[in-house]
Amino acid sequence: MDFNTFIAQFISGLSTAMLLFLVSSGLTLIFGVVNVLNFAHGSFYLLGTYFAFQIMKLFNNYWAGLLAGTVGAGIVGMIIEYFFLKRIYGRANEGAFQLLMTYAFILIIDDMVKYIWGTEYKTIPKPAFLSGSLSIGSIMVPSYNVFIIIIGFLIVIFAWYFLMRTDRGKQVRASSLDRIMLSLLGTNVPLIMTLVFGVATAMGGLAGVLAAPLRTVTPGAGIEIIIDSMIVVVIGGFGNFWGALLGALIIGEVLSFGILWMPELATVLTFIVMIIVLILKPEGLLSKKAIVRK
């Protein structure tokens, strides 16, 4: 592999990583703060894509679609958290019920998408000025990939600022540490949980819109992304925001280079990475919590 291919592949992996990060950081935020493993997160990604598709068809404007997909997915997420997930918090054997309920939402949302928009492939065009490619030295990089990477980095910086430098962010972090104490101190914890769920699903929706021009839009896309994102979250550590970033970078690059190395088994490779991490450091690369029993 010569240097140019390496760089091109690396950048392509970086854009995949950023998409994965958008989905999996939402997943990990929900797990950390709301304490729910949201298996239906891929469905919000899907909803984002299709909302954007619909709005783009109406207004023929990429940015309107981007906004609609993001906000729409977030609103649906908040509705689901507020009216459904809330009712199973704190139940004995909660984990299994979370799994089932979110699984039920996968079935419901995915089928509704099929019902409303049909199963045939849809395409969302790239915005005109991003359809070309940039040349860095002798390397050509599609400018849309660069756009995704930039958006990803903006989100990382914004999230860092929000979580680490604002009072709201402090409350969010606190609620993942000790929910009861926080509510005793007068914070509206249920509101924080709903908002976090909304923001996280909105990020899922945003990823769906961003990914749409690169991949074909099908009702199966949600399932594909959720499995990869789960792997990312497991590798980085459940509930660990920065872990999700690290995990996304690893998996993005593994996918990108795996396709060069052995095209057929690239997806299998990600599972192998996950299994290795889980066996060596089961709590995830960036988490300290000990979860292995003696």
Binding site: A96, M101, L278, I279
Partner: protein, 323 residues
């Protein structure tokens, strides 16, 4: 002496599935019943680690699929006359693999265990999907012949499945009621206390995992013979999800709940599938209703009416100890 009440589910079970043969509603419904009974075994086997031991495995499709693929591939490679043996080999294959997977996954608890089982199952699914020459890839394996004794008409195969499933379920029933079964329930309720009693939680979980995988493998092998075709979907994660679904809908704290759950799920697919292709939407709604309103499953409903039963008290204990 045991009360007749203990055997009531068995009586209903026999009346229902034997009665079906007597009524003989036509090959389509016999086929449906065969599917229910095979799925029922899969769900009951799964429930040994889910409802009894309290481990949420999200990778049980792996063992179900191994049973099916081993049986199917062996029949393809040699003669269908040895079909009965191949089901057993498939089950032992599933148990063998489950030993290694259990060894690794059971070191983790809670959601991590769930994710790791999912990862292993998806890994094997991915391999099955890609290794076209070995497993038939996307197409799966078609036209798996039945042995002469079972060929022709679905009724014979249904009877065969019924016998195999009944024996398997009976063994699982005995296991659940044995001291070992009590240890498993103990592990779910309070693993620390089990350790204090001088029992090894990990070893017992591993045993339960292997037994569960073995019977899931039998179910898979039976399914391979039913339609004569298998496909990678049997290894895909919705199949694992279905196991959780069936056990929960039917009632994971009861022994026969998963069979009822299998009946409900298969029946729903059948009935709703007739009217609309969007049947998974309706299954989603049913699951939602069950999770919100009947967390103890269909067979668990009656428990609300009586005084608090042991199972609910157990749950309170679990909550109090923070496990």
């Amino acid at each position: 002496m045991r009360k007749i009440k203990d055997y009531l589910p068995w009586i209903i079970y026999f009346i229902f599935f034997i009665g079906l043969l007597i009524i003989n509603p036509g090959p389509h419904y016999i086929h449906l019943a065969a599917r229910i009974i095979i799925y029922g075994l899969y769900a009951v086997a799964f429930n040994l680690i889910y409802g009894t031991t309290g481990l949420v495995s999200f990778g049980h499709a792996l063992f179900y699929g191994i049973g099916a693929y081993v049986t199917g591939m062996l029949v393809k490679a040699s003669t269908p006359e040895l079909f009965y043996l191949y089901i057993l080999i498939g089950a032992f294959g599933a148990a063998f693999i489950s030993f290694f997977i259990g060894l690794l996954t059971l070191r983790l608890t809670g959601i991590y265990f769930t994710m790791l089982t999912l990862a292993f199952a998806q890994l094997v699914w991915g391999l099955t999907f890609k290794l076209y020459h070995f497993t038939g890839g996307d197409d799966g394996i078609q036209a798996i012949a039945k042995p002469t004794l079972l060929a022709g008409g679905v009724t014979k195969y249904y009877l065969f499945s019924f016998v195999v499933v009944t024996i398997s379920i009976y063994i699982l029933w005995r296991i659940k009621r044995s001291p070992f079964g009590s240890v498993l329930s103990g592990i779910r309720q309070n693993p620390q206390r089990i350790t204090f009693l001088g029992l090894n939680v990990y070893k017992n979980q591993l045993k339960a995992f292997i037994i569960s995988a073995f019977f899931a493998g039998i179910a898979g092998g039976l399914y391979a013979g039913l339609d004569g075709s298998i496909h990678p979907d049997m290894l895909h994660w919705p199949t694992s999800g279905n196991a959780i679904l069936m056990a929960t809908i039917g009632g994971m704290s009861t022994f026969f709940g998963p069979v009822v759950g299998a009946g409900i799920l298969t029946g729903l697919e059948e009935i709703v599938g007739k009217y609309t292709e969007y049947w998974s939407f309706y299954i989603g709604i049913v699951v939602l209703i069950v999770v919100l309103l009947f967390p103890n499953g269909v067979l668990g409903i009656k428990k609300f009416t009586g005084s608090k039963n042991i199972e609910e008290k157990e749950k309170e204990v679990v909550c109090n100890t923070g496990n």
